[in-house]
Symmetry: C2
Subunit: 210 residues, 2 copies
Amino acid sequence: MSLRLALLALLEAEPATAYELAARFDGSSARLWRAGQSQIYPELKRLEAEGLVSGVSESRGSRARKTKYSIREEGCRVLAEWAETAVVHGVPRFPEYLKSSYLEWATFDGARRHFEAQRSHHERLIAGWSEHVRELRTQETPLLQARLRQAPDSAADAIVAYKVLVYETLIERSRAEMEGARRGIELVDRLQQESGLPGSARLTSPIAGR
Amino acid sequence: MSLRLALLALLEAEPATAYELAARFDGSSARLWRAGQSQIYPELKRLEAEGLVSGVSESRGSRARKTKYSIREEGCRVLAEWAETAVVHGVPRFPEYLKSSYLEWATFDGARRHFEAQRSHHERLIAGWSEHVRELRTQETPLLQARLRQAPDSAADAIVAYKVLVYETLIERSRAEMEGARRGIELVDRLQQESGLPGSARLTSPIAGR
DNA sequence: TTACTCATGTAAGTAGTTACATGATTCC
DNA sequence: GGAATCATGTAACTACTTACATGAGTAA
């Protein structure tokens, strides 16, 4: 159910077409949620049917048309209610750590590659989020500017501060994961050294005739 | 596609019925993956059809029967291949941080409750994982014991070490998130103080007539 | 005999993905 | 005139959830 809330949050800042919303959910600016066009078009129709947003058909060029969606009062109420409601924590699902926990099946080289990939993945995430924190502080992002235009001046500090805290927390979280990956590489090096085997060897291998 | 790998990994340690696997994916021992019965029964059938596991019908009591599944050589090969393959990172989706980043819609009390819930959530996760690390080190868990029986003695260190690293990393990751929640509570206190408003007030509110 | 666990499923629905289809508009 | 972008969708599929249905085995 987060998709509709993400859509409402975007529309609260600024009216937009489904196409524009899809673009925001697609590029590097989609940092907390992502969705494809095929999900956004029907969801907007549902939101309109429920009276949370309103779609207005506008002309585009001479013959074509587009539908610009705006949030309605009821949509704002749903946003406020969501902000007030406790999050339900999803079931734990960590595909990358599931794999990490069975690396005895991999070659030493494969295990090293795994941890190196994790490290560089989190490095990229941190770089992106750090840049975004900078943009939030200097109020460079168009979406933040639009959001600030809608809200009373007294809320401006809070709007920026909550978002900055989110990305700073995610940065620290990824730092912890980078450190885990660093320790993983050390571990693989130690295990390989202790085994005296080449990097292409594995500690366990499929047993014939199961 | 992680479900089948989680199933293969469990069956590699020890043959089991679908019911037993479902129980393992359900209790507190399901720390990296979780799945319901309705997903496990058909997936095991598929794995059998593909020749990765074999199901043997055994009698249970006088009239009833059960199917015990074991991993086959081809299933072990798939596990080894998976361990060697790079993980594809899913799209970013952080429902709890999406909410955090729009807390200006909530009341001060609601925002505080949100961060307090996050903090206690991660506290519980850390407690569970810490306990599990201890159990892994003392080799108390039946699943680890079964896994160690299957693997050569030379792999025992690695099997334990990879799993311990996973949970220690997740502990540090949750610690970072707890610290974020602590900072969140501080932030709400500061924002409320600066506003001079009661805890039941919100900084932005639905605008009539949208 | 009653309640609980063991055991095996099906059905309907939600959320999201990948791929395709279509056509106008704008920029070079 | 051709390529990229704007714009709106549909269809089929995958993964997972929630709820239901059935019956034997076991322990109080």
